[in-house]
Symmetry: C3
Subunit: 135 residues, 3 copies
């Protein structure tokens, strides 16, 4: 298995970061197989959505509507406001996606991008592990 | 890796389509490994639920309750009413599942079916990529 | 592919059960690859969250807030109260996660645990299939 860790600077804000170009570079010339995109953090997720046309911000808004940043709702409430919510989000927006790769190209649809969902503004850098299993 | 693209006719309505028979046919006689079911569309998802006893319609209802089809909630609002919601849904109901296969049989539980979740009535046909990684 | 089925006693209560130690034992000395953790039940899920600091109970609370246990909301309503909700939950909290393994160690982050989410109190034991695909 070929594997590599990206370091993504998300800064001191909550962010959805498009990882598609990084994944494309990683799988280029690797043939056929599956690529796993895995974030080893308990307050971040990975998803596949359209980016650049408003849906990335819409997705963050909807996460906040469904998992409110009201600390009175959570037992886990040390840290910055909203940290209880941050820890529940990965239960719904998981830390990993797996995508088929054909002849060195991720088989994404035209409007699909692989994104890091970093809901936690306290962590300015995030790691993302890319792994390729040839088949 | 063996891979194949299904073309699924969902028609001009939102639909949950059971893909289990297609996946079973695809993995038959392929031995042991993992099968990836991946939909290359930004307004559709793949899930594993019970079908045929009401839960498929219940699931669509719950998606609409949690991600309302009120366009005023979304930045992304070109297209038909509800299109902003359509683009957020894959953040919560992802485009892919991976299932273990044993001796050519997907190791699903008795009540589990693999389904395409097509929330977008504008697309009458959908593609689904099946990929098998032997192990 | 190496594969094994765990039997997990969840008892007559809804529970989040930490499977990390079981997964770690399973992958130990297996080298590099991907491990799939798959629950073959239609009223349970698998997730990766922090455990032991309140977020596991917070996650169950949030599941109930978003997918209420009010049977009038669901078509599928045989069985115990809340069973309609139980069947919708896996649409949002899926039955499987896939995690990279490096030199026999699951590449989880410090605060990540792999958990079984058993929302259905009627089933005192659950099966979980672990599968390792070497790469």
């Amino acid at each position: 298995m070929e594997t590599e860790v990206l370091t993504i600077t998300t800064g001191r804000q909550r962010a959805i970061v498009d990882l598609t170009a990084d994944v494309s570079r990683f799988v280029a010339s690797k043939g056929d197989g599956l690529v796993s995109v895995f974030v080893p953090h308990a307050t971040a997720g990975v998803a596949i959505i359209e980016t650049g046309a408003g849906s990335d911000a819409d997705f963050l808004d909807r996460i906040d509507a469904l998992i409110p940043r009201d600390d009175s709702l959570y037992r886990h409430r040390h840290g910055s406001p909203g940290h209880g919510a941050d820890h529940v989000i990965p239960g719904f927006v998981g830390p990993s996606v797996t995508v088929p790769v054909l002849d060195g190209v991720a088989a994404l649809g035209t409007w699909q991008s692989i994104v890091l969902v970093d809901v936690n503004a306290d962590n300015p850098t995030r790691r993302v592990r890319l792994s390729f299993l040839a088949g």
